[in-house]
Symmetry: C2
Subunit: 229 residues, 2 copies
């Protein structure tokens, strides 16, 4: 019997992909309005390259982007990009409409709820707080700093331990076969891939990434959990 | 004849003091709600000490604050403080009601307008953009990185040069005798101290900090400039 439900955060409980792509597009528009001489597509490509090479927690994306585009360093242009990026991210940092009702309903039905997410401890907590989700989970495990990141089984086992549940009593819900599903399997937990349909579904690249179940929205989880019981 | 008007930014065009004190108070409230075991006054005192010792651009105020209070490191508490601080600052990052009308009226009357402010280039530009003031000035000079900070005459002279005006054709408007007034005098410019009254007025600590004029609100500047002419 499943007693604990472990959720991924990004692109499972809110639409990170949409948020980031709108934020980048608005950043680039603002930089051009502030004086950057480039097309939106050129600028967005340059920004995308810097982010993919330097990682999303690098501090000087925009300075680096200007230098690669051969543009003069310009703090007004950089600030315009930063403000537009953050304002857009902030505006779209909102849970999927089905997130909160599903979590509350599962809590009401006695399930223990966890988030297992990779990232910087404080940054991931900031997201949960801004999303209004920080008090909804019985357990939050942020992996990557003190705990091995997914698909390591370590963060999933940590959540089960904090629940006082055995792995076979837990189920993992996430969008990424390579992280969430693979990690769940290695931890000895059942797994559910959430394929919402607005983004191209991520495909398992091998047997160890194949989910036990697939759902198209979070509310389907309730019937699924009943059927497993 | 005065042809150029050089403004200070913080506490002259918007209420930084109020913004920061509300932000700190809300940060501390949020940290206590997230689990910090302290009174608001204790926590605010600890935060104030960290900021005054480490400077306002230090990256780990809240971690340091917890460690000084003997509290366990807790990313949820730190994130709660960061989110509340930034949300409060953001909400109060708004010009004084008389700022925009005065600036527009001076522009309409043919004055060249500048901001001269100390700080990090990108951070000060972010403020101007968020305040909606970034396009209102003919010249923005940010001192402290590439240019000597106030009360050096250097940033004031830089603004006059960009105006193509002589120092005696410019007037400086600011709240701080030690920075704005002293710097204006060293640059050979007339000076106006803005004493808005909601905060304790800053007093000149010597002859070199004594303003030529004192005003209680920005609109008074228009009559003053006419009287000098």
């Amino acid at each position: 019997v499943i007693k604990g439900v472990i959720f991924d955060l990004d692109d499972t409980l809110y639409d990170t992909t949409l948020q980031v792509s709108l934020a980048r597009r608005n950043a680039v528009k603002a930089m051009i309005a502030a004086g950057l001489d480039a097309t939106e597509d050129e600028a967005e490509e340059a920004l995308g390259k810097v982010v993919s090479e330097k990682g999303s927690n690098y501090q000087c994306h925009y300075d680096e982007m200007l230098s690669r585009m051969g543009a003069v360093p310009n703090p007004k242009v950089v600030a315009a990009g930063i403000v537009a990026y953050h304002e857009t991210k902030r505006m779209h940092l909102t849970p999927y409409p089905d997130t909160m009702p599903t979590l509350l309903s599962l809590r009401d039905n006695g399930y223990r709820l966890a988030v297992v997410t990779d990232g910087l401890n404080v940054k991931q907590w900031e997201k949960l707080i801004r999303l209004g989700l920080s008090d909804l989970f019985h357990t939050v495990v942020i992996a990557g700093q003190d705990i091995q990141p997914k698909p390591s089984p370590q963060p999933f086992i940590a959540a089960a331990n904090q629940f006082n549940l055995r792995p076979e009593e837990c189920i993992v819900v996430g969008d990424r076969p390579d992280k969430d599903i693979a990690g769940a399997k290695r931890a000895g937990m059942a797994s559910v891939q959430l394929v919402r349909g607005e983004h191209a579904p991520r495909k398992p690249s091998g047997k160890d990434e194949e989910p036990d179940y697939i759902i198209g929205s979070l509310p389907e989880l309730k019937a699924l959990l009943k059927s497993i019981r």
